[in-house]
Symmetry: C2
Subunit: 96 residues, 2 copies
Amino acid sequence: MDLLLTYDVDTTTPEGARRLRRVAKLCEGYGLRVQKSVFEIVADEAGLLRLLASMDATIDADSDSIRIYRLPHNGLTSVETRGIAQLQSHRDDLVV
Amino acid sequence: MDLLLTYDVDTTTPEGARRLRRVAKLCEGYGLRVQKSVFEIVADEAGLLRLLASMDATIDADSDSIRIYRLPHNGLTSVETRGIAQLQSHRDDLVV
């Protein structure tokens, strides 16, 4: 399924800056970064559960915010983009 | 329809910082801010077109990035959240 993950990590402390780097690194293992704090992810339910478990172990639940949206089928191929934003290919069969 | 708008505005210049404020203000007229650069929006096609036209007139297309994702029906009510992230009510009939 196509997912969109967005995060706000409180970076007012050195620990926060460290968490931000860890959250980004974790997300890089699951999808493609499309903006500073936005990742497009293709995963199955098991992958999503693994990601959520790792996220729980990484963030500070009292100050950080993680949101994961389920997109429609192939929702990542029909994004309205403006400026330097570009569509990303997530599946090999989309590459011509 | 349920939309998710995310943006990265290049704030390395005073003009960029100004654009960032304008983009945020524009989005506030259409939806609810859920993270620093993420807005949840409920709009029809006409509203989306108006928003895109205003966005085109606001951003620097060579340095800013705007992405708008179409979510499934009621996609804003089934967001996976972690930490301080909370579900938002966008429709009056959802308020008990």
